[in-house]
């Protein structure tokens, strides 16, 4: 029975995976990929399927597991954000050589903008480096179809395939018709073949040759894949300008040309399979056009792969911006510029610069993201700055990156770098006989993802710093996924809980204390105690676990007793609370001339009662 529902792009991908008979889906959360696995779980439960799902501790772990499932003959997938693919790249490069049995699809979600990422890197380039095919969907419906295609290609050619949806696919919503889903009946079997599954360098050379041969055959297949690679040239007609586009930019180009009624005089070649590029099809398209504008996100991939670059207008010729999202208005303007250069008539429906000028002149305040009212990270950062004001603050990826608003975060490199950079800072200064305090902050989920290897290394190499694990008992930023500490698995079932304390002790740390950061005084006292341990010749790394549940995930537990906080007339407008505590519920009332509490926003945590140097923040 067919029904119609609105699917989030990531839900459409989940649907595609289950329609394709995928029996294992692994993932580590990261925007914009985080909802794929929960959507798989939702569908698995509603349709009564037995697909295995897991939140793995990181992306490499996720890919290794999915790869193993593939070589037992089952279809498997693993999902991550683009920077997660960096973590999984060791696995990816090798898996490409070894090949697959059952379909293996890696879904790596890109974030042009970037909206919620460290980089704007293009997963299609990673596919090129790894020599695996990559598909680039334009909208949720196509992403759903391409999952099936990716599985089929993976099985036919025995190679992993990457699906690269960008954020505007992942976080799009679309009405989609779908029917019932069925379990796959494939059973696991493993045929030993050390020359492939445990190949030594000599065999790797052979496997590399096989891979290169596969890519040639896949390219031929892609040339004829008219559902996803197509153009609208009229036979014999010549055009001053054509457009080659893939992914999200294709959908934008399509809508613009259709709104403007220009489909007939500006032909478009849509490329759904970026690599291997259907080169013959591209040549055919280019031979009918004087110039070709290439529009792709976020890097140059199609543009590099085109054989004849003489006609190309793109990033290499500065016709397309090399950073930032290609928003519809950006694409509109760059098409117009290309039309102008080709002496073709311009598009007509764009807006002038007036509105943007107007908005600029309004000098609107920029609302930066902040930690939520009541967030325990805020309390921890406040205590850290009070206890160790001159330290270098290394931090990490998660909500607590926002500690930078409070001056309590100095570095954010990549997952786990709070610890590894603390080690590097310590030794770099120690080499000069300088004792530089370093206070490192990392979230619980990030610690499970990439913290323990760095901590072991730092202990082993006798680095000295204070590590504060901000344990809010959830992966918060990406939408509240469980961590291994909870013993709750991706499908809600019970798993074995692994407490942070045990891992930290296992890494060789001898100073481990647990505290609730809402108790700022105790945390400050502990940081000072930890500092003594760090400086003691017989001491070492000190770890404080600052444990308080996330307010969004655990509303009632986070604030068992709401405190009614007000600010008295003792407020001298020193701004200390606003600058150093940075709670969104504290703001300056221009009419009253002092700081007040926004009662609608206040969580009632009461932590700010400890903050005012004048004692003007009190409980009513």
């Amino acid at each position: 029975m067919k029904r119609k529902d609105i699917f989030l792009g990531n839900g459409a991908i989940a649907l595609g995976l289950l329609e394709a008979g995928c029996q294992m889906v692994t993932s580590y959360p990261g925007t914009p990929s985080s909802e794929i696995l929960p959507e798989v779980v939702r569908l698995v439960k509603s349709e009564g399927l037995d697909t295995y799902v897991e939140w793995s501790t990181n992306e490499k772990v996720a890919l290794d597991a999915a790869f193993a499932a593939s070589i037992t003959g089952k279809r498997a997938a693993c999902c991550m954000k683009q920077v997660g693919l960096n973590v999984a790249s060791d696995s990816l490069m090798s898996a490409a050589y070894m090949g697959t049995i059952g379909g293996l699809v890696i879904i790596s979600c890109d974030d042009p903008g970037p909206h919620s990422s460290q980089t704007e890197q293009d997963s299609r380039l990673m596919a090129r480096i790894a020599k695996v095919p990559v598909l680039d969907p334009s909208n949720p419906q196509e992403a759903r179809e391409m999952v099936q295609l990716a599985m089929d290609i993976s099985e036919e050619f025995r190679t992993p395939v990457i699906l690269r949806p960008a954020i505007r696919v992942c976080h799009a919503r679309q009405s989609i018709s779908w029917g019932s889903l069925k379990n796959s009946n494939r059973k696991a079997s493993f045929e030993k073949d050390p020359t492939r599954w445990a190949a030594t360098p000599g065999f790797r050379f052979k496997l590399h040759g096989e891979l290169n041969q596969k890519l040639k055959e896949i390219r031929k297949k892609f040339e004829g894949l008219t559902l996803y690679n197509f153009h609208n040239l009229k036979p014999g007609k010549r055009y001053p300008l054509g457009i080659i586009a893939g992914g999200v930019p294709y959908s934008v180009v399509h809508d613009i040309l259709s709104e403007e009624g220009r489909e007939d005089d500006i032909p478009v070649l849509k490329i759904g399979t970026t690599y291997p590029l259907p080169e013959d099809l591209s040549d055919e398209f280019m031979s009918a056009c004087e110039k070709v504008l290439v529009i792709e996100e976020t890097d140059t991939v199609i543009e590099y792969l085109l054989r004849d670059k003489n006609k190309v207008l793109g990033r290499l010729s500065d016709h397309v911006p090399s950073q930032g999202e290609l928003l519809p208005e950006v694409i509109y303007n760059l098409i117009n510029r290309a039309l102008d250069e080709c002496q073709s008539s311009p598009l007509k429906g764009g807006i002038g610069p007036e509105a943007l000028e107007l908005v600029k002149n309004l000098e609107l305040p920029v609302k930066r993201p902040t930690l939520c009212p009541g967030c325990a990270h805020r309390a921890a950062f406040f205590a850290i700055r009070k206890a160790k004001p001159k330290a270098i603050y290394t931090s990490d990826i998660g909500c607590y990156t926002l500690g930078l608003n409070m001056g309590a975060v100095d570095t954010v490199l990549d997952m786990g770098a709070a610890i590894t950079m603390a080690c590097g800072f310590y030794h770099s200064f120690a080499q000069d006989n300088v004792i530089q305090s370093v206070v490192s902050t990392i979230g619980d989920s990030t610690f499970y993802h990439a913290g323990s290897a760095g901590l072991m290394s730092a202990v082993y190499n006798d680095a000295r710093f204070i590590l504060i694990i901000l344990d809010n008992q959830i992966t918060a930023m990406t939408g509240m996924q469980p961590t291994p500490a909870l013993g709750i698995r991706a499908d809600g079932s019970t798993g074995k809980a692994i407490p942070l304390e045990r891992i930290v002790a296992g890494c060789g740390v001898d100073f481990i204390e647990v505290v609730d950061p809402y108790d700022i005084k105790s945390l400050i006292g502990l940081i000072k105690k930890a500092d003594k341990w760090v400086q003691d010749p017989n001491g070492g790394i000190a770890v404080i676990i600052a444990r308080h549940p996330c307010l969004i995930a655990y509303r009632d537990e986070a604030i068992p007793q709401r405190k009614n906080v007000i600010i008295t007339e003792d407020c001298v407008e020193c701004n200390y609370c606003i600058d150093r505590f940075e709670c969104p519920a504290l703001y300056k009332d221009e009419e009253l001339g002092r700081t007040v509490v926004d009662q609608g926003m206040c969580s009632g945590c009461g932590v700010c009662l400890e903050v005012c140097p004048k004692g003007a923040i009190i409980e009513a």
Partner: protein, 188 residues
């Protein structure tokens, strides 16, 4: 039906995603084709948030500048920030004080494009009801009171009734009805 483009904006935590969901679901029930785009991740922690919703036959999920028929904003400044998205003859609904909205320089721009601006103190309405997080529903109620979009008041209300989690349902409908009652046509 011609394609209809709706943009919803505000700040992280105000419930823009739920508003989008309500309108998308209501459109689906009318058998309209729905495609939209949302903000997730870092920006949800209090930064600018924007949702795009396109009803009709389209391929791309983002509303292009100058093509939005309706802009609903839960914050006055965010309404201004996204003003360039509005099409000629569009409609702007914002949570703002009626007296000072829109700012004179903005009004001049809106008038030049025949855009009608309407304000409702959605946040205040929600606060007075004792559920400060419901300004999104009050705004939807206000929007529905004008019966201008492709979705009418009843269709939107029924959808809220249908998709609200049980523990929020009563409050959601109350906030929606209060917003509906807050209709004040600035031109009328």
């Amino acid at each position: 039906m011609e394609n209809v483009n709706i943009v919803l904006c505000g700040l992280g935590g105000q419930g823009i995603l739920f508003m989008t969901k309500v309108l998308a679901q209501a459109a689906l029930k009318k058998d309209l084709k729905v495609l939209g785009a949302e903000t997730h991740g870092m920006a949800q922690r209090g930064g600018s948030v924007i949702s795009h919703l396109k009803l009709g036959s389209v391929e791309g999920s983002l509303v292009r500048a100058g093509t939005a028929h309706y802009l609903l904003s839960l914050d006055e400044n965010e309404a201004y920030r996204n003003i360039s998205l509005l099409a000629k003859g569009g409609r702007l609904y914002a949570d703002a004080k009626e007296k000072s909205f829109p700012r004179p320089e903005v009004k001049q721009y809106l008038d030049s494009l025949e855009i009608v601006a309407r304000s409702v103190p959605a946040g205040k309405i929600a606060m007075e009801m004792g559920s400060p997080m419901s300004s999104n529903l009050a705004m939807l109620g206000f929007f529905s009171a004008f019966n201008e979009g492709p979705l009418n008041h009843k269709e939107i209300r029924d959808t809220i009734d249908q998709i609200s989690p049980d523990r929020f349902k009563e409050n959601n409908l109350k906030a929606f009805d209060a917003g509906f009652a807050g209709k004040t046509d600035k031109r009328g």
